[in-house]
Symmetry: C2
Subunit: 323 residues, 2 copies
């Protein structure tokens, strides 16, 4: 079954990609085996992140960019992250609907992701979906997120180039941009440049960039764009390619890859450690004993954590002076 | 030195509290010893969370509530979480300044927290600061956060009662409220009730609450408030007290305490595990060997994580069938 699916995936069957993504999204037990099997196929795609407030026009901008990329016959995977309200239970499928323009183009694969109440889990799944689109052979993978919090910042760490989309008509200027979001922008797109206030916003961003002290040799360009009249789209595409050249020429791309591999390993190790600890608690035994001590207010959590760690890790490496 | 500080802290010296909070915020090596020492002193305070968008009037509402609480001579600690832009490096001290009204009242202690670029770290520090204010003997601890993301939801888990502050004049209605934020509200405060649209917003929230299927026996009340004319503040205070009675009568409070103790232990265990893994990597040896294999693309991260876990955990508990 799985071998058959993986074979179809390798042959580039669209339905196999859809199936694999669903398995990842649903946290299937097969997920890990698939990601492991396809691990070395990934690493070729150009991964671009688009972030910005709802209504900033990210989807339309991506739509136009997809047109430009498709002219060169390169293939594209798009991952749209839609935070689902755990309250309503329904996903906002707006982006998927809006991007139907490319729905019949076999070279474009679009997938909306919904959170199931846990933004941390979403970040993990999204990274895996990006990787699997890369492994599938997409030349480009574009991730679109609503720029609201740490989870989005985490997601954007998978992107080689992050475009922050801002609009002049939000009426509240640059000050209200969320912490951490400005930091991750490699390119600023001042979208809806046909609206009044666009020039002012550009000046505000440039001023902010001037204030920033950084060792990076890349200064994020600020590009005015409009999906309405097509302004700046060629410039945006050029800036994305420029940034990629910058990453490659300065060996940053290589170190990003290593960083990512290291983070991946540590994340997997941590997940396994967690499930190991959980299984130990469920089995009863010493771990649950120390935890019970805390629950019954007979021991503080610090002492208990020390005891539990001592129970679980190897004695020869168990140098308690480290804790 | 530390013993002296802890003694002053126990005697209720305000300066000792300030010093201890700074040590926590700066991730001092003494932090853990202090929290461990004071662990069993905590658990008495009523912990109330206030969350809502910037400009929703949370601070003014808290200000009025503090007045009501102070009439009963109970003491209050306030923790205001101000996300600092890592871009500007400066903290928004607005709340601290606004709440100066109580600056001379010895029964009120106000502290603003700034993120240093890591929202996860902020959530951890904030929880610890809430606990230490509790351990200091404050009757109430009020946490104020900007309701934007998962980190805020995490922070609010320490609160027994969470008040979500909404305003009618945001012009975008209930739909735009961020995922996860509606979920955590025990009480809805429709603030600035003097503004038009307040009644509509109440109806919207009530409709949403009617749609929600829940096993909880607590239905969040929706209270119209105004710090301008004092409307609804008595009702809000009453609702907070009602919610506390509900938690106690239904033994929910007890299970919340246990849940918190368990989470604390697991969090501490995880932090120690992480620093243990880091120390193993820095020491060279088998862990860094497997990590290097991944970095050199000779091994996938899944296989490497399995190898690393095998290196670190005890053989007798190391049942690889679990992974």
């Amino acid at each position: 079954m799985l071998q058959n699916l993986l074979k179809k995936f390798q042959c580039g069957e669209r339905q196999a990609l859809a199936k694999v993504i669903s398995l990842i999204e649903n946290e299937s037990p097969l997920k890990e085996e698939i990601l492991k099997d396809r691990y070395f196929s990934a690493g070729q795609a150009k991964i671009i992140g688009f972030t910005g407030s709802p209504g900033s026009g990210k989807s339309s901008l991506i739509d136009e960019l997809v047109d430009l990329i498709r002219r060169g016959n390169e293939t594209i995977g798009i991952v749209a992250v839609d935070p689902t309200s755990p309250f309503s239970g329904g996903a906002l499928l707006g982006d998927r609907i809006r991007m139907q323009k490319h729905g019949l183009d076999k070279g474009v694969y679009i997938r909306s992701m919904g959170t199931r109440g846990n933004l941390g889990g979403l970040a993990r799944s999204t990274k895996d979906v990006v990787k699997i689109m890369d492994a599938f052979g997409k030349d480009w993978v574009i991730v679109e997120t609503v720029g609201v919090g740490q989870a989005e910042v985490d997601i954007m760490n998978v992107a080689h180039t992050t475009v922050l989309v801002l609009t002049p008509n939000t009426g509240d200027g640059i000050q209200t941009i969320k912490a951490g979001i400005m930091e991750i922008a490699d390119i600023f797109a001042v979208n809806k440049s046909d609206l009044p206030g666009s020039d002012t916003l550009v000046v505000e961003i440039e001023t902010m960039l001037n204030m920033k002290t950084t060792e990076k040799r890349w200064r994020p360009p600020v590009i005015q764009t409009s999906s309405l009249n097509g302004e700046g789209l060629g410039d945006l595409f050029a800036a994305i390619n420029d940034h990629r050249n910058y990453l490659q020429e300065n060996e940053i791309y290589k170190s990003m890859e290593k960083e990512q591999a290291s983070t991946d390993t540590m994340d997997i190790l941590e997940m396994r450690w967690r499930s190991y600890v959980c299984s130990q608690i469920n089995n009863g035994g010493p771990v649950s004993h120390w935890l019970d001590q805390v629950l019954n207010r007979k021991m503080d959590p610090y002492t208990a954590a020390t005891k539990i760690l001592e129970c679980l890790i190897k004695p020869e490496t168990n140098d308690s002076s480290k804790f």
